[in-house]
């Protein structure tokens, strides 16, 4: 297991950079995290695990990918988080936090969402646990992830459009923090990744650690040992930390956090735009959304607008623990651009019969370009399924010449 950081710091990273109005709630949450999550008070973790199993559909399989293994000449295993209820790993965290809010006696849930995966997971968990729930989502994201908006509404959640800035995840997080600062006494903020002030990065990691806990055991059963490499995409980094947590202490296992290289790794300072979301690879230390971490920013410290074809990776920051693990040399920060991710999306769909989320496709893109360096047994975390991305994929595929892609144009008018 990864270390517990009592002071909420990962070296220089982490901390609690939030308005004073939120600090008492954060102290209360820290206390609840320590008692219920770390010490299993009132059987909280047993309750959580039982719900993950019966409501969430865990454990998910670790599948031997036959044709990918053949293609790359090594054993490739897929951790199938796309099979979690809702279609992504996001439920692991959302269910944990909504349940914790319930144990804490909170009466209302707010959450931000980028791609809509965390929002839908939170809406499902809130319905399951009978908690009123409001989700903040950027307008740009609402337009590119419309099916997820309907899913949240169907589960009874309010969806509040955020129109500030470019209308993506960064603005949605800021707006949810404002709601929380206003309604802090009865409301819990279910943050969607290993970001934000302590205890969120540690707590979200602990809820997601079930991914690597299962995968480690399942791989041992199948191969008798540990993988040589673990690959996971990284935006904020919750599936990444979940996939890495139980391997961090195994020095023989190489860990790769695959970021969105977007359209370019260069930065347009004047426009305040970084056409990528590669905070670990290209960002600098800064303070964003409650934590000191690696951030896409200009030389003054203004936060840049990020970009990725995958809405779930489109964020200018990253979890502080990942930033620390990269500085320590324990985690390799790598990236795959939009083209590589789209190619990998089509490849997995055709070779393995699994339509991955565009986020997860980044991890699979790295496997394609770097398989020779990854050892004999490679574990890839398929963090979610790609149904939500179909419109984007059709649009983006038409702009490109992708070898493995079927013709989609002839049908796209009728969808």
């Amino acid at each position: 297991m990864t270390q517990q950081y009592a002071d909420g710091k990962f070296g220089e990273y982490g901390g609690q950079y939030v308005p004073e109005a939120l600090m008492p709630a954060i102290e209360e949450l820290t206390d609840a995290y320590e008692r219920y999550v770390l010490e299993n008070e009132d059987g909280f973790m047993d309750d959580f695990r039982a719900r993950l199993r019966d409501f969430g559909g865990r454990p998910t399989p670790t599948q031997y990918a036959e044709r990918l293994s053949e293609r790359y000449g090594r054993e490739v295993y897929l951790k199938r988080e796309d099979l979690v209820h809702g279609g992504a790993h996001k439920l692991n965290n959302a269910l944990g936090q909504v349940l914790l809010a319930k144990y804490m006696g909170k009466e209302r849930i707010v959450a931000e969402t980028g791609a809509g995966q965390h929002g839908t997971a939170t809406a499902m968990a809130a319905a399951h646990l009978d908690m009123p729930c409001e989700i903040y989502m950027g307008e740009t994201d609402i337009n590119r992830q419309r099916p997820n908006v309907f899913r949240m509404r169907l589960n009874g959640s309010e969806v509040n459009p955020v129109t500030t800035g470019r209308g993506t995840l960064k603005e949605a997080i800021s707006e949810t923090m404002r709601d929380w600062a206003t309604n802090v006494e009865d409301t819990h903020y279910v943050i969607g990744s290993v970001v934000g002030p302590h205890p969120f990065p540690a707590m979200v990691r602990d809820f997601q650690a079930v991914i690597s806990e299962e995968a480690r055991e399942q791989l041992r059963e199948k191969t008798g040992g540990l993988p040589d490499a673990v690959l996971a995409c990284a935006g904020g980094g919750s599936n990444t930390m979940g996939a890495f947590a139980n391997f961090v202490d195994d020095e023989s296992v190489s860990l790769y956090a695959v970021e969105a290289g977007g359209s370019s790794l260069s930065v347009d300072e004047d426009a305040g735009v970084a056409p990528n979301s590669a905070s670990l690879s290209t960002g600098n230390e800064g303070v964003l959304h409650g934590a000191r971490t690696k951030v896409l920013q200009d030389t003054d410290g203004q936060i840049m607008e990020s970009h990725s074809v995958s809405a779930g990776l489109d964020y200018a920051g990253v979890g502080p623990e990942l930033a620390r693990l990269v500085d320590d040399g324990r985690v390799n920060a790598v990236n795959v651009d939009d083209d590589g991710a789209l190619e990998a999306f089509h490849r997995l769909s055709q070779l393995e019969g699994i339509i991955p989320a565009l986020e997860s496709a980044h991890a699979l893109g790295f496997l394609e370009s770097n398989y020779e360096d990854l050892g004999d047994v490679v574990l890839v975390n398929v963090s979610g399924r790609g149904d939500k991305d179909l419109e984007t994929v059709i649009e983006e595929t038409e702009k490109r010449d992708i070898e493995a892609a079927p013709s989609l144009a002839e049908f796209s008018g009728g969808i």
Binding site: P19, A21, R178, T182, L265, E285, Q302, I303, N332
Partner: protein, 323 residues
């Protein structure tokens, strides 16, 4: 005028100017975002606030992610950033202002933290950009293994040189403020902390042991923004602070002279007003009004607020009872 208000002393202030602003009756502390909607107009607006009776002026240095601000000040921040405001321009702005009252910089910690660190950043961005995304190679771990920033000291040093008197940093709770507190002590600047309605007990004591200049009493939960009524949470907060002899300035939601009067009558040593003034700037900007005309309306609003504060003070400490 003598001072009968025994709860106000200047002991905790590192900067005598800021404390002095609270020494002679209630302080009116207006806020504007520097550079909203442009540099030249903004200079006139801030100077108009002094003519209207400001005792201290809080100047916002705009940050792209203002998580403590409501819609009014968020829009001001966007206008100021689009108008070209940067930390360096902000210091030039402060140097160019023709005002005699103390100025406090209100901004978010990342701008303070990054200042004076541009060389390290540009170098890092350049080396990162050289790695093409096509070959997706692993990034080299940093050889220094630690932060590249020099911390808050260069920003505070430059602020002192520009003539600022202190800081309010809404995303920096007392727990994380050690380095900034040290730098402020080194250069003789004040560090104002915000106390929320939810701040009680040990937290309150910890904050009050680090505060200097004045304490910013947040009148209600939520984000900044003008309200039609003044919250009852204010009296509770002032009550909890009664034993502390640092000036208490109440902000969040004060919109009219009447609000100012009630807040000061309830025990505040000062009032902080932002959104109600920013509204005037926004309306003038939307209507294409001249900067001079907007400035005169700001001066008028400032006078209304200041007069309200003075009436509230008269109710609490009648002239006849002052020694």
């Amino acid at each position: 005028m003598g001072d009968a208000n025994e709860t106000v002393t200047t002991e905790t202030a590192a900067n005598p100017e800021l404390a002095a602003a609270f020494a002679d009756g209630p302080a009116f502390v207006p806020y504007l975002a520097a550079g909203d909607p442009d540099y030249e107009s903004s200079l006139k607006y801030v100077e108009a606030l002094e003519r209207g009776g400001a005792d201290v002026i809080e100047l916002g240095l705009p940050f792209s992610e203002p998580i403590a601000e409501g819609p009014t000040i968020q829009s001001a921040v966007v206008r100021a950033l689009e108008g070209g405001m940067t930390p360096e321009r902000f210091f030039e702005f402060v140097e160019e202002l023709d005002v005699d009252v103390p100025l406090v910089c209100m901004t978010y910690y990342n701008l303070i933290y990054q200042y004076g660190d541009s060389e390290a950043q540009s170098a890092s961005n350049a080396s990162s950009a050289e790695r093409s995304s096509a070959d997706s190679r692993a990034a080299e771990p940093r050889d220094d293994g630690g932060p590249a920033s020099n911390g808050p000291r260069p920003f505070v040093e430059r602020a002192a040189e520009a003539g600022l008197s202190g800081f309010v940093v809404p995303d920096l709770p007392a727990e994380e403020a050690g380095a900034l507190r040290d730098a402020c002590d080194e250069f003789g600047l004040d560090l104002v902390f915000i106390v929320a309605p939810t701040t009680r007990g040990e937290r309150l004591e910890r904050i009050m042991s680090q505060v200097s200049g004045y304490v910013y009493v947040q009148a209600r939960l939520g984000v900044t923004g003008a309200q039609d009524d003044v919250s009852g949470q204010t009296e509770g907060s002032l009550g909890r602070l009664a034993d502390h002899d640092v000036p208490k300035a109440v902000g969040f939601g004060i919109k009219t002279g009447e609000h100012a009067e009630r807040i000061v009558a309830a025990g505040a040593d000062g009032i902080i007003v932002g959104s109600a003034l920013v509204d005037i700037v926004a309306a003038g900007n939307d209507a294409g009004e001249s900067a001079d005309s907007v400035a005169s309306r700001l001066e008028e609003k400032a006078r209304e607020l200041k007069q309200g504060a003075l009436r509230g003070y008269e109710q609490r400490v009648p002239q006849a009872e002052r020694t």
